[in-house]
């Protein structure tokens, strides 16, 4: 009997042996674990805000991405006089693989992509009513990032052929650790464009018309129009641009100057990076402006060769001002002003250019009408007839220093100084750090 009592008592410690594994799952308090972050409707929406907060980093849509497009294409029209080495390399086309601004653009872009991938992977937890909107916003951000990645790091898109030149790696799954699959290869430029267009079409279908400062249907369509234009797909370009214009959600401001240096979105803005101190700032101001407005000493000078492009009476020329011994841009004089990424004027120009290239029947309005809409808003007398070159010039003047220059040069096959549009020096090298860490990329080096 006693033996049985002893044996029962003995078995107690053995029972303890079957303890729960759950005991070892503790939750952190200073951070949120992945499971929690993607585990509820409220949290996923927080992660979506998180994606925007990574997207407004000065290294990308806080401004540098726009600046770099201008520096790459600006030779002969602007002059870089700043002391920072990294932008100087971009201007003089001596970009080394260790350039930190290039690395920042790469790293920051993929941080946003990973966040969007996380959101897209966890949509079931989002409330039914909001699911489309959340997915649409994540897809829009992801598409915007991939579009700019491929425009900067890949050779230009050639209309009419399958673009097999190396683009950037397309990552669509959230990172859950590092394994062999993390060492990705570059996809082709064509594949990236296809992904971008797929994402934007899906986004446009899912996004609501009205979404405050966040991505909306109009932003998705507007970006889509831009993508089609870059591809040389003028038919789709004019159709999509037309959709945005005829939605009547956006209106051109009467005074051109009112479009810029605003803290908040204007009726003309289709999508802009919101800047809120102290967590963010407008880095275009840093480089294009002077200390009086929060900029550096005056890193970018506007040369006469650019200013002489404007016809007399052009209100757009009035924005330029003299500061610290040179002419400055004037569109970026607010350190905490929103960074306007897409505005309505661009849609008119896309529609006009696509229409005139394809000829009648025109979609939406005649190229002349669209041209005059922009032209007269700039304070000039309306034209009676218009050519393709007129429209291209109008686009250049209207959208000057807003991050379009190099991309327009490449699609129009123009030159930058002595470099032709498809010179490899006009393409960002894959950062050296990335090549070293991921040898798979080395096998597809951009000739640089």
């Amino acid at each position: 009997m006693r033996k049985y009592i002893y044996l029962t008592i003995l078995s107690v410690p053995l029972l303890l042996v079957t303890a729960c594994d759950k005991l070892l799952e503790l939750e952190p308090s200073q951070n949120v674990s992945e499971n929690t972050a993607l585990g509820s409707d409220e949290n996923i929406k927080s992660v979506l805000i998180g994606a925007y907060s990574l997207f407004d980093d000065p290294g990308i849509y806080g401004g540098n991405l726009l600046r770099n497009a201008e520096l790459l294409g600006g030779n002969g029209e602007i002059l870089w006089t700043g002391t920072s080495d990294d932008p100087r390399q971009i201007f003089y086309k001596t970009i080394s693989a260790t350039n930190s601004d290039v690395l920042a653009q790469w790293v920051d872009s993929y941080e946003v992509i990973n966040t969007c991938n996380n959101i897209v992977s966890a949509l079931e937890v989002v409330k039914n009513d909001d699911r489309n909107r959340v997915e649409g916003e994540a897809l829009f951000l992801r598409a915007l990032i991939y579009f700019d990645l491929v425009r900067f790091f890949g050779m230009p898109y050639e209309a009419g052929i399958i673009n097999n030149q190396p683009g950037v790696p397309i990552v669509l799954k959230p990172s859950r650790g590092i394994d062999k699959k993390s060492y990705v290869l570059r996809n082709s430029v064509e594949q990236v464009y296809i992904q971008v267009i797929t994402d934007l079409k899906a986004a446009a279908a899912k996004l609501p018309e009205e979404n405050g400062v966040f991505a909306s249907r109009g932003s998705a369509n507007a970006l889509l129009a831009r993508v089609y234009l870059q591809k040389g797909d003028y038919d789709n370009a004019r159709k999509t641009a037309n959709e945005v214009i005829s939605s009547n959600k956006y209106t051109l401001l009467t005074d051109y100057a009112d479009v810029f240096n605003q803290y908040y979105n204007t009726p003309e803005d289709i999508f802009a990076t919101q800047i809120m101190p102290p967590e963010s700032y407008n880095s275009m101001t840093i480089f294009f402006s002077i200390p009086e407005f929060g900029g550096n000493y005056g890193d970018i000078e506007i040369l006469d060769s650019h200013l002489s492009l404007y016809p007399a009476g052009d209100r757009r020329k009035d924005l330029f001002f003299s500061g610290n011994g040179a002419m400055r841009c004037g569109k970026w004089n607010n350190l905490y002003g929103r960074v306007n990424l897409i505005r309505l004027a661009e849609m008119y120009l896309i529609r006009a250019e696509s229409n005139i290239r394809l000829g009648a029947p025109y979609v939406g309005a005649t190229p002349l009408d669209d041209y005059n809409t922009i032209h007269t808003r700039a304070g000039l007398t309306p034209a009676s007839s218009v050519t393709l070159n007129d429209i291209i010039l109008e686009r250049r003047l209207e959208l000057a220093f807003e991050g379009h220059r190099i991309h327009d040069i490449k699609r129009l096959k123009e030159n930058v100084g002595t470099w032709t549009y498809n010179d490899t020096m006009l393409v960002f090298p894959i950062p050296a750090r990335e090549l070293e860490v991921n040898p798979m990329l080395k096998s597809q080096m951009t000739p640089d």
Partner: protein
């Protein structure tokens, strides 16, 4: 030279012991060499008949097959040191203990058989009465305080140090760096013994450096200024003597730095200063020490107890530094009935600390040495001077107008309930709490650096650690004929939470208002919380056959919240065998050797000092447009786990002449794998870095312990000697070749194939005798890595190639203790030393920089090159022109070997006949001295140093205005009745 001295001491000690043993033991019949009954007349130094604690149990020492070192609590008592590690210095072979500096709250580096990690801790696991105590420092000001300071070591019965894998595998994923088990005193059956002791004394800094006095400073700075201007002339192509910019600058500075003490002629030219301030002296002070202990120990067959209380105060040798401890302990054991044992122990301690800043702050008192001797400390009104009269911040302002007080409360509570189930089977249950509370209040007045411009600054910080451990296990002991079997099998669970709360404020109306309630601006606040747990299963089997064949098998399974899902549980097995050769029949006739055991062990242990949530994907807070959001902050690592150490050990234990001479020799080989390192990952993942278990480090070496009773009789003389060698090598750092984050200042790097923390910098070649330029060896390498033109030098630092200059960790450590007794008088002294290491004198780039700026210089700089043909190692003094003061050079690397007279004890115990008359069982008076002598070639304050704001596995052996160890003496009295 010091290394030779060191070896001489060690080996003369050995030789002495050997020669003292030519006489055979007399007085006892010695037929068989039976180690069960010892034949020496003196208490046995070998301890072979005692039990030692082995982790979850105890074992007779002669049957132990692993490498364990035991230190008796008596050897630690009364030492005039603030923490238990310092009392353990030199007492155990292979255990390197170094106080990082001489502050009373200094942390100690403890290394058992070398450094085995890069980013995780290399400190051993500390167990107090079965509780793995928390060793996190939760204070914000100054360097991390020593968390073990709150443990009163006068309560300690013994300390066992588990060194090899077989002994520490029972602690599984936390045993890789060895285990220090501290056991407190228990009661005994018999009349209550009451013990009272009181001691008092003082400490002084053990060494001062020689700085220039006022006259030397003035003439040296002027000389440097003249040469600085000559450099300007050369740079601009002017004729020498044209530019006098620096000379004028220096004259202005000299006048400004002198304050009211400036002596000028009628034209306002500076002539000198009325004062000659010894700033080093103002940083130091004599600190008083006193302490009182009272304990009672006793009981009967059923109930035994130990109760003790103590109060301890030690002022530090740096002004304003000090530590005060009050603690009490109660240990109770009760034989409740025939088959139940119950026990309880409670220790409460309160430690109050006056904290000083860490070494790199201007407010570190020792940084006062940079101030000029021509500057009077106070102005005409008696107020302390500050910039611009003082060259840098006058840290005496912090002493006068700032208070930083840290108060720690620690409760260690332990209870056990054991059942004797049936023959030899016990069921033990234990539960322990380590509750640690820290309160830190800092208040900086308006005149201090931290409080200036904001009308005073203050912060309040509180931290709390709750550490709960519980275990339940079966303990079986039985004898089956010739086979002794004992074993344990059980489970343990530990849960730790750590939280902090912090607030800071500015804009106080007056300095006298101390608390944040009076701050008009609460400028910051934060709270943190983290937790982790361990769930473990362990078992051990000990077999002793015929009292001479020994086998121990251990295994532990640890699961932890810190480990990733792919590695949730770790398995840590170990095996050790032993053979007591001397018990064999064939050994019976062997002379001299009465005990001989050979043993060997091999096992796997782990290091789980890894981040609490390192395996998880984590999101941090972010915001956009004023709305908060969550952004991915850490990438998941499902493989994240402990670092693993595999260790092999082989040893011989021997006793000669009936254990009059006893020794242990061990050789070991430790290989640590899976060292956590930050690895660069493809940015396409959305992250750039992931901590991965990829590195590898190796330690190998040997240890010798030798004790002997040299004389027994009226005069007794015992010697104990330990010596060890450890060679450390980094084998793999995740595919990288070198980790060098030293910038232009620090030389320690992690380099494949070299010891961790090896110094990597420029090799200083001396001074160009032609023009006084500092020179370095270019050390250019060819394609194979060999140095071409080893003798070529250059005066352009940027052209120099770095080479490996030395090891911050000593290769050899050892200590020798001699104890003499004569009729109640006991005299014991310990010499302890290290050899083979170098120290980087980082602070010297400012105080031994041949006058490059206006910091006061060491007298050694007076030997600067002056004229063509001068042969000296000190370059020409040039104000504002770098000339050899680059930090990463062997100019600032000094030999760190030392031999210290660690401890001297002289005591007299009054004869029983006298004490019985006054009803006392014992009356003893004693004198204790600590760090009385240091023999070293080291040029800095103290070769026992590792700058406290830097110290980790990589950055050791750095001196950055680090205070020397205190030299302490105390007198005391010990009464028992």
């Amino acid at each position: 030279m010091q290394r030779i001295l060191f070896f001489l001491f060690v080996f003369s000690g050995l030789a002495l012991q050997m020669t003292a043993q030519q006489k055979p033991i007399t007085g006892v019949a010695t037929g068989a060499k039976d180690n069960q009954t010892f034949t020496s007349l003196e208490p046995d130094e070998s301890g072979l008949d005692e039990d030692i604690i082995v982790g979850y149990g105890s074992q007779n020492k002669s049957y132990v097959t692993s490498s364990i070192s035991k230190v008796d609590g008596e050897k630690l008592m009364n030492k005039p040191v603030p923490t238990i590690e310092l009392a353990l210095q030199g007492k155990s072979a292979g255990v390197f203990i170094e106080a990082v500096n001489g502050k009373s709250t200094a942390f100690s580096r403890v290394r058992i058989r070398g450094t085995s990690s890069i980013y995780a801790t290399s400190q051993p696991l500390f167990i107090v009465d079965g509780i793995p105590v928390t060793v996190d420092a939760l204070n914000l000001s100054g360097a991390a305080i020593n968390p073990l300071a709150s443990i009163n070591f006068n309560d300690v019965e013994s300390v066992e140090i588990l060194k090899d894998a077989a002994s520490s595998a029972i602690y599984g994923s936390r045993g890789a760096n060895g285990v220090v088990i501290i056991n407190t005193k228990k009661g005994f059956s018999g009349d209550t013994k009451i013990n009272f002791s009181f001691k008092s004394g003082f400490s002084d800094p053990s060494h001062r450096r020689e700085f220039m006095n006022a006259d030397e400073y003035i003439s040296y700075l002027r000389e440097a200024a003249v040469n600085g201007d000559l450099q300007e002339d050369k740079a601009y192509g002017y004729s020498p003597g044209t530019i006098s910019f620096w000379e004028n600058y220096v004259e202005t500075k000299l006048k400004n730095f002198s304050g009211w003490a400036a002596i000028t002629d009628k034209n306002g030219n500076y002539l000198g200063s009325k004062v000659d301030t010894d700033w080093q002296d103002l940083a130091f002070r004599r600190g008083t020490i006193y302490s009182a202990d009272l304990s009672a120990q006793g009981g009967n067959d059923k109930l035994r107890f130990y109760a003790g209380g103590s109060f301890n105060s030690q002022e530090g040798i740096l002004v304003s530094n000090g530590i005060e401890k009050a603690s009490g302990r109660l240990n109770i054991e009760n034989k409740a009935n025939k088959f139940t044992d119950v026990g309880f122990s409670l220790a409460l301690s309160r430690t109050a600390i006056n904290q000083v800043p860490s070494d790199n702050f201007y407010s570190n008192p020792l940084q006062l040495v940079a101030l000029s001797p021509i500057t009077p400390p106070r102005d005409e009104y008696g107020e302390l001077y500050n910039r611009p009269v003082t060259a840098y911040y006058n840290s005496l302002l912090d002493v006068e107008y700032a208070t930083v007080k840290i108060t720690e409360y620690r409760s260690l509570v332990n209870g056990y309930l054991n059942f004797n189930l049936f023959n030899g089977m016990k069921w033990k249950n234990e539960l322990g709490f380590d509750l640690y509370n820290l309160k830190e209040n800092a208040r900086y007045g308006e005149k201090t650096d931290a409080g200036t411009g904001v009308n005073g600054y203050g912060f309040a910080n509180s931290g709390q650690n709750q550490n709960i451990t519980g275990r339940s296990y079966l303990d079986y002991t039985n004898i089956f004929g010739n086979l002794d079997v004992s074993g344990i099998l059980g489970t343990e669970y530990q849960y730790v939470t750590s939280e902090t709360l912090y607030a800071e404020g500015q804009e106080f109306p007056v300095d006298a208002l101390k608390t944040l309630a009076s701050a008009n601006n609460i400028s910051g606040a934060s709270s943190t919380l983290t937790k982790y747990n361990f769930l473990s299963y362990f078992s051990r089997v000990n077999l002793v056959y015929n009292a001479k064949y020994l086998l121990t098998l251990t295994c532990r399974v640890d699961g932890s919240s810190r480990f990733g899902i792919n590695n949730q549980y770790g398995f840590f097995p170990a095996a050790s065998i032993g053979w007591i050769v001397s018990k064999e029949d064939f050994f019976a006739g062997v002379p001299v050797i009465n005990f001989l055991k050979v043993r060997s062990s091999y096992g796997v242990t782990g290091n789980a000092d890894i981040s609490d949530f390192g395996h998880m994907g984590l999101y941090d807070a972010g915001s956009y447009n004023g709305i908060s959001g969550l952004i991915p902050g850490q990438i998941q690592n499902p493989d994240f786990k402990w670092e693993t150490t595999k260790q092999f050990d082989a040893g011989i234990d021997f006793g000669l002449y009936g254990n009059k001479i006893y020794g242990e020799i061990d050789v070991y080989h430790k290989k640590s794998n899976g060292i956590l390192l930050p690895v660069q990952i493809p940015a396409t993942s959305g992250f750039s870095v992931q901590m991965q278990n990829t590195g590898s480090i190796q330690n190998k070496g040997f240890e010798i312990l030798l004790t002997s009773n040299n004389l027994s009789g009226n005069i007794t003389w015992n010697t104990s000697l330990n010596f060890s060698v450890n060679k450390n090598k980094v084998l793999d750092i995740g595919g990288q070749d070198i980790i060098d984050n030293g910038g232009i200042r620090y030389m320690n790097v992690v380099k494949k194939g070299y010891p961790i923390g090896v110094f990597y910098g420029a090799e200083y070649a001396g001074v160009d005798y032609y023009n006084g330029d500092a020179l370095w060896y270019i050390n250019e390498r060819d394609a194979n890595g060999n140095i071409v033109n080893p003798d070529e030098t250059t005066n352009v630092f940027d052209d120099v190639n770095f080479v490996f200059l030395g090891n911050p960790n000593p290769d050899y450590i050892g200590a020798i203790t001699n104890t003499f007794g004569y009729k109640g008088v006991e005299f014991e002294f310990t010499f302890q030393g290290v050899a083979g290491n170098k120290i980087h004198l980082i602070g010297d780039q400012w105080m031994a920089s041949n006058g490059v700026w206006y910091d006061n210089q060491l007298k050694s700089q007076l030997k600067s090159w002056k004229n063509t043909g001068d042969v000296t190692m000190v370059p020409q003094a040039r104000f504002a022109w770098d000339n050899g003061n680059q930090s990463r050079s062997s100019r600032y690397l000094s030999d760190g070997s030392y031999l210290k007279l660690r401890n001297v004890t002289l005591s007299y115990e009054f004869p029983q006949t006298l004490t019985n008359k006054i009803n006392l069982s014992r009356l003893k008076i004693f004198f204790e001295g600590q760090n009385l002598l240091t023999f070293t070639q080291y040029e800095g304050w103290d070769p026992e140093v590792s700058a406290d704001f830097l110290v980790n596995n990589i950055y050791s052996g750095c001196d950055f205005y680090s205070a020397p160890q205190p030299r302490s003496v105390v007198f005391g009295i010990n009464i028992s009745f």
